[in-house]
């Protein structure tokens, strides 16, 4: 039997950059160009094989709109990895991404793996953020970097694969995940009553 590891991942980033589309492509291998903005957050899981282990991704796809901003800590606090998404055709979304990185540094779990995804790379004609600038920035903060297209299924699985590679065994169990986080399956909850 293969060992099953649970990897908690959250997606952060400006509204409309394609966070949900990336998750739908990864989980369902589907794409809907007329998708509505996410309301609150959406939870999905997908299990993939990685070497001789099974990795079960528990994915929190958060809404990018300002009114849900204050809820984000609830989702990233317990995560082993965060995928921060920007839209390569919107410079502003790259600035928002930098703010997310800052917030994670200050309030996120200490060893959280950060992946930066420059989405909509199929629209390179309208590009506003150069691949090199983004890559340099990602390197400077030791983050995974890929340009993706949820629409054309480019580099989507790769992001998750890189996360699988980067997450040390001890973190994947959620052992290092921050205190005060309750939005996860909590085995101690059921035990509490017994003692």
């Amino acid at each position: 039997d293969m060992e099953l590891r649970e990897l908690k991942v959250c997606l952060l980033g400006d509204t409309g950059v394609g966070k949900s589309s990336i998750v739908w492509r990864f989980v369902e291998d589907s794409f809907d160009p007329n998708i509505n903005p996410t309301i609150g957050a959406s939870f999905m899981t997908k299990t993939v094989q990685y070497q001789n282990e099974l990795h079960r991704f528990l994915i929190w796809d958060t809404a990018g709109q300002e009114r849900f901003r204050a809820l984000a800590p609830m989702y990233y606090r317990g995560s082993a990895a965060a995928i921060i998404v920007y839209d390569i055709t919107k410079e502003e979304s790259f600035q928002t991404l930098k703010n997310w990185v800052k917030e994670l540094r200050q309030h996120g779990p200490p060893n959280i793996v950060v992946a930066i995804a420059g989405n909509k790379c199929d629209l390179s004609d309208a590009r506003e953020v150069s691949e090199k600038d983004a890559k340099d920035y990602a390197d400077s903060i030791h983050a995974i970097f890929v340009e993706t297209s949820a629409k054309n299924a480019i580099n989507i699985n790769e992001v998750f694969l890189e996360i699988s590679q980067r997450i040390p065994v001890v973190d994947a169990s959620g052992a290092s995940a921050g205190k005060g986080f309750k939005l996860r399956r909590d085995p101690s909850d059921s035990r509490r009553n017994c003692c």
Partner: protein, 524 residues
């Protein structure tokens, strides 16, 4: 073209407003084929307890407004029924008027419209939301930026009248009604060419107001504008415009919002009971409401004891689910304020479809924002339990026919009807028959129902019975303390025929009430 209004008690009504003594009906209501007319004995009335906040339908909505005339309305009796109603509107609108409407139906690109164009002006109903500083927050058609000077004028009108210690309520001119709703810190304005009364338009503006509150809470809204009067609220509402757009569509098309009621998926009561009890068993400490929907139909609702849901809050939940494809995959988790329950705080809703590709959507409402996995667990327990029962197959079967044909009633001239049981807050209605299958025709018939509703609930001259003849259909509406009934007949029918159809229809609804209504609502 004539509105015909009874000014005497109708022949089938007895002194206590019922065909049979109340006591007898309460006892053997299910055996009795005779429907009661008073509240609690009408077809569809719940047997044990109510599901919703007990609401006098529509009055409840305006109760928190400044409409003091509403109080007087209740006391008026039928002696005034013979008088013509407001604005001299008599009978149904002519076909010529209707033709123009069709051209002005909005496309999906409504936002990019040129606000100086004739097409923009011709929309049947505009809705604008602005801040007290006159800043645009929402416009149904056209971008808010393009309308900022128009909204400035609206705010100037409101302020001008208020300076004289007065309140502007509406302007009637050139076939338009301009209705103002002042709900500090917001101002809502409706501009309509419809047959609706000022009061019904105001009711719709309330819906839009509560839609905004459901996203932010009133507390947060007040807080924002206290700190910064000039705040651009669109920043916080970004990504929710489609909810308001869709709600306005529902207001034009969904009888539930007109009747302040909810409709159920027709289902045998034994099947519904199994579903309800499965839902009841899947409870959690902070769970307040469990709601199972099939499209726009309610399958069942289980609530915490002593906690009631208001039909308006339920409509806002329906709208949230119905207008967002984002709940189609995975499990949604979102804060939501149910403004009729409490405008100050958020509930947290777990929203998910039971299975891929199904219309069955489960909404679990909790008071705890970190309750997600507890509620996710509730959902799985519910589904597991339900799957083991044959009721689940019966439910899947019922989903194939979420509505029914009016021909089942067996009244040849009857084309369509709306029946609302006041005590349960539930209504039933058949699918629209052939002449009303296009969106335009459905909106037209809905507008006629809205017109009857406006007449029946007129603030100073309410009616209990109204019969109207038009070129395309004849309409009848009747309200008692127990129900509201709206009937649509072929234009060839007569009034005598329509009147005799009422009893037959009520008997049919009584016979079918187990299937069409939720008679025994459950609590945890």
């Amino acid at each position: 073209m004539a509105a015909d209004v009874h000014n005497k008690a109708v022949p089938w009504e007895t002194a206590n407003g019922s065909l049979a003594p109340v006591e007898r009906l309460r006892q053997d209501r299910c055996d009795s084929p005779t429907p009661g007319l008073v509240e609690g004995t009408e077809p569809g009335a719940g047997q044990d307890s109510h599901m919703f906040v007990h609401a006098q339908s529509f009055e409840d909505l305006t109760a928190d407004g400044d409409d003091t005339r509403a109080e007087a309305a209740g006391s008026e009796n039928t002696s005034r029924l013979g008088e013509p109603a407001d604005e001299g509107a008599q009978g149904l609108p002519s076909e010529e008027e209707q033709v123009e409407e069709k051209e002005s139906h909005p496309g999906s690109r409504a936002k990019e419209e040129d606000v100086t164009s004739e097409a923009w002006r011709r929309h049947r109903k505009h809705v604008f939301v602005l801040s007290e500083a006159g800043k645009p927050i929402y416009s149904r058609y056209g971008t808010e930026e393009a309308l900022s000077s128009t909204m400035g004028v609206m705010m100037a009108l409101v302020s001008f009248v208020e300076a004289e210690k007065n309140i502007i309520r509406s302007i009637h001119a050139d076939g338009y009604k301009v209705v103002f709703l002042r709900k500090s810190p917001l101002v809502l304005v409706g501009v309509a060419q419809t047959l609706q009364s000022e009061r019904d338009l105001s009711r719709e503006l309330h819906y839009i107001y509560y839609q905004i509150i459901s996203l932010l809470t009133l507390t947060q809204l007040n807080h924002i504008f206290q700190h910064k009067q000039n705040y651009d609220l669109r920043r916080l509402l970004a990504g929710s415009e489609h909810l308001t757009d869709n709600l306005l569509k529902l207001l034009d098309r969904d009888p539930g919002l007109l009747l302040s009621a909810v409709t159920c998926l027709p289902l045998s009561s034994s099947v519904r009971d199994v579903i309800s009890s499965s839902l009841q068993a899947a409870k959690a400490k902070n769970l307040v409401f469990s709601i199972l929907l099939a499209g726009s139909h309610l399958v069942t609702l289980v609530r915490k004891k002593d906690q009631y849901l208001h039909h308006m809050d339920l409509h806002l939940l329906f709208n949230l689910v119905g207008s967002s494809s984002s709940f189609r995959e995975g499990e949604g988790w979102t804060p939501i304020c149910l403004p009729k329950f409490n405008t100050a705080g958020f509930f947290h809703a777990h929203i998910s479809y039971l299975e891929p590709g199904t219309d069955l959507c489960l909404i679990l409402v909790s008071t705890d924002r970190e309750d997600f996995f507890n509620l996710s667990d509730c959902k799985h327990r519910f589904l597991e339990r339900l799957r083991r029962r044959t009721a689940y197959q019966a439910l899947q079967e019922a989903l194939k026919n979420p509505s029914y044909s009016v021909s089942q009633v067996g009244i040849p001239e009857l084309r369509h009807f709306l029946y609302k049981s006041k005590s349960s807050g539930l209504y039933t209605s058949p699918e629209f028959p052939v002449p009303y299958q296009s969106e335009e025709e459905q909106e037209r018939i809905m507008e006629l129902y809205q017109y009857l509703h406006s007449r029946i609930h007129h603030p100073t001259r309410p009616l209990r019975f109204i019969y109207c003849c038009g070129e395309s259909e004849n309409l009848l509406a009747w309200v008692t303390s127990g129900f509201e009934l709206y009937l649509c007949f072929s234009p060839l029918g007569t009034k005598a025929l329509a009147v005799s159809a009422i009893n037959k229809l009520l008997k049919w609804i009584r016979k079918e009430e187990d299937r069409l209504f939720i008679l025994s609502p459950q609590t945890y």
